[in-house]
Symmetry: C2
Subunit: 504 residues, 2 copies
């Protein structure tokens, strides 16, 4: 076999192991008996070790090294077609990242992350940041070592950001947030001043979960999520996973007194799921078969959740159906009231419950804190106060306790620093895609109002999904929209929509 | 680390991989989207390869070789405690078996098995043995090569039998079947002569599957199957699997017009499941944490399915509950009529639908044919006729077509020759266990009639489950019953029970 064939063969093994790991994790959150947790951790840890060993093992190093300079990533044979050079570059990117971190370091960090996450659960329950503080301090130390191993980019924080959103810089993110802040903070203030104009109490009535499940499934199918190659189940926290593009699994969480939550989570995870199902099957075992970044992934979920799922055209189609599922609660509720209820904007303390407008201010709080932590050695002990100050500054409300403030998210506990910005990037991308789709799909709103969502899915598949990682996020944005990533389309969308709903 | 620690460490990896493989397979039969079959096959095949490579790899060979002569299995340090010597012997047994087969051979056979199974499905559908014949001939050839690699025991067939039922010989099995034949064939003939004395049409009424599921779950819990460490799901063919003793999964199949099938399959798989849950957790990653043999495993399922689930004491407790689940069909059916219906004996063509008495004659047919195939080079082409002749001789009925004859079972298609006898061995063991339990558990029948099944589960756990593979089947039989394995207890049980039911 040639060096390339050997490399691709190793990647196949990695792909199979990732599939197994994904199933073990999916099962842990869905059907695993509660007493099996320890055994499952051992199984997942061993598969992770095998994954790592295969990626940086002798076979891979030797053969990839014949094709690429392992230190710099320079392709040795410049006469290769551009696409093949790109593929090698992406393979090298993964290799280099894995090989840069010594395996003892990875193991140490992984054990710390596991302990830290358990501590975080207890600290949040006890509403006691001091229980978690030493552990988070240790995490920050580990992050600095990680940055040393991986190499510093523009700033130390950029190295972390780059892991979740390749090629994104904190300079760009800061610029985007500055635009967001300048337009979104006043918009939220204007809305808050007239907040009683929208009443969402109708969404908190009694909605039996069986019907919620059935309605959600019908929407998932309407989006074009293919049940031959996927499924939906229930879990404590909704998520999407894939063992292969032919096996994509989304989950949802149902609550009898909350119509909005499960419905939007189904559309959200369904958007992630469509991306996974749309990745090119013929590339399934190499980077070109993978998603570009967390931000691009999030753009797919947010597009379906918000730009579709909170739009008038969608509900023109879906609301009469929803009324059939819940005649007692909804028969006498006009569509317009329902639409407004779904779109109520209200500053709140908890990110995962936030509406589409205030959501990005929650992210901005976290982003600014992360940068201070990593680039400025801001003391961990002072995070609770910093958090509360920023919430007050941007959202006009101050957390009553740390459990509803700095302790609310799991991410930092397992070392995911640099992850949060991808949520907002997803929102920004999604608005750019949706604008473009409106221009390219004839009468998209009319089609949506008829329940014909497949043209949109197919457009996303054609423009985004089928390319996998063969393009960078930047390239994708330019090719699809002809422009650079900007917050303007998203902010325009929010202002226009909410000025209408709130009569501003 | 010492050589032993290294060996145990490799076994841990094997155990984790087996857990992953078990979950991938379980999911394939329960929740996997139908389009994911190819990807799943690749994932399972890769995990199997890793399993094999770990078991016979350099680390294992080197370290096990320091403790055991890899050729003969002789323990090097005879001063080791007997239990540790036994453990090493069992580890070597697995190692030796895996190392004896060249990996190219294993791969070739595995590919053949996969194609052969697909051919078998088509041949059975088409009722055309000639479609399957060449493939089965090839399987027999592979079996001969396998026997060469593994080493011939008393006869070539004994080598195959030993893989499924370690240390069992065909001489012993033949002796047992001769006893079974001499007493069971006449019993079946006597019953057939008065077959109208029992009517089981009541079991074929309308039994909604939701209630069947709920009743089955309540029985599974009554047996002491622990839902903290296990679960039940639905699949096309019922089975039991385990990713770890803390994660044991049984499945069942429900049919609305068949009350007996799902109920007995739940008790059957529940029996397998109790064995898996009762294996010693502290030995989970070495052979002492595994089941002894297929026959001993089957003794657990058959004990709960037949000796408990088809007994008067069990139904004294369970029937009033069953009536509550199905008042329309059962309110006016006396318990005695129901008990007899469940115990109707009738020669039939299909093994998996056979009652507990005729079942073993189905196995005898297969056992005799397998011995002829392997030891006497009996021509595969003549199997259909041989099958039909033996069915007529032992059961008094002749298959109308090969789909209901020689083509009915999947086993031979994937190379499982030597497996069938373990079903009957399971029945024989189960009767010996149950006799002994009746002597050792005070008023077992009275307890069962009260629904108190835990003393029986705990007795099985104490006597059988907790020992894992630290004893051989022979030792277990002698230690529990003070006797050698014999067909007498099972035949005594059948004669007494069915002479009563049929008034012979």
């Amino acid at each position: 076999m040639s060096a390339l064939e050997n490399v691709l063969n190793e990647l196949k093994k990695i792909s199979y192991l990732r599939g197994a790991e994904a199933l073990l994790s999916w099962d842990q959150e869905t059907y695993m008996p509660e007493g099996a947790g320890d055994a499952r951790s051992n199984q997942i840890a061993h598969i992770s070790t095998l994954l790592h060993n295969t990626l940086v093992g002798e076979t891979m190093s030797k053969n990839l090294g014949e094709l690429v300079d392992l230190g710099s990533g320079k392709i040795r044979d410049e006469s290769l077609p551009a696409r093949e050079q790109r593929r090698l570059k992406e393979i090298w990117r993964d290799y280099h990242h894995a090989a840069a971190l010594p395996s003892e370091f990875v193991e140490e960090v992984s054990k710390h992350a596991s302990r830290s996450q358990q501590l975080w659960v207890k600290a949040r329950q006890a509403n006691d940041f001091s229980m978690f503080q030493p552990s988070l301090e240790k995490t920050v130390e580990y992050k600095h070592r990680e940055i040393e191993y991986l190499g510093k980019l523009d700033t130390p924080y950029d190295t972390l950001l780059d892991e979740f959103e390749p090629h994104m810089t904190s300079a760009k993110v800061t610029e985007l947030f500055s635009e967001i802040r300048s337009r979104l903070v006043p918009l939220i203030q204007d809305i808050t001043a007239v907040k009683d104009r929208v009443d969402n109490s109708i969404l908190k009535k009694d909605y039996p979960i069986e019907q919620q499940w059935d309605f959600g499934m019908s929407m998932l199918k309407a989006m074009g999520f293919d049940m031959v190659y996927g499924r939906q189940d229930k879990s404590a926290h909704p998520f999407t996973t894939s063992t292969h593009p032919t096996d994509v699994r989304v989950t949802t969480r149902l609550m009898a007194n909350d119509l909005k939550s499960a419905l939007l989570s189904t559309l959200h995870e369904g958007g992630h799921g469509l991306y996974e199902q749309g990745l090119p099957g013929e590339e399934a075992d190499n980077p070109f078969g993978e998603a570009i970044s967390l931000g691009i992934h999030e753009s797919q979920s947010r597009l379906w959740e918000n730009l579709v799922g909170l739009s008038r055209p969608f509900w023109a189609f879906a609301y009469p159906k929803l009324q059939e599922y819940f005649p007692e609660s909804l028969t006498n509720v006009p569509e317009d009231d329902f639409y407004k209820a779904m779109n109520k904007v209200e500053p709140s303390l908890i990110r995962v419950e936030a509406d589409e407008a205030t959501y990005n201010l929650h992210i901005m709080v976290r982003y600014e804190i992360e940068k201070l932590l990593i680039n400025e050695n801001y003391p961990v002990a002072k995070l609770p106060e910093l958090w509360n100050d920023k919430m007050e500054e941007y959202l006009g409300i101050r957390p009553d306790k740390d459990a509803n403030g700095v302790l609310q998210d799991v991410h930092w506990s397992f070392g995911a620093i640099g992850y949060f910005p991808t949520y907002t990037l997803g929102n920004l991308y999604s608005a750019m895609w949706f604008n473009q789709a409106q221009q390219e799909i004839r009468d998209l709103n009319g089609k949506m109002a008829q329940g014909d969502l497949l043209p949109l899915r197919d457009w996303l598949r054609e423009k985004i999904h089928r390319h996998g990682r063969s393009k960078t996020a930047d390239e994708l944005v330019r090719e699809i929209t002809g422009e650079e990533l900007s917050a303007k389309p998203f902010l325009d969308y929010l202002e226009k929509k909410y000025q209408g709903i709130y009569g501003l």
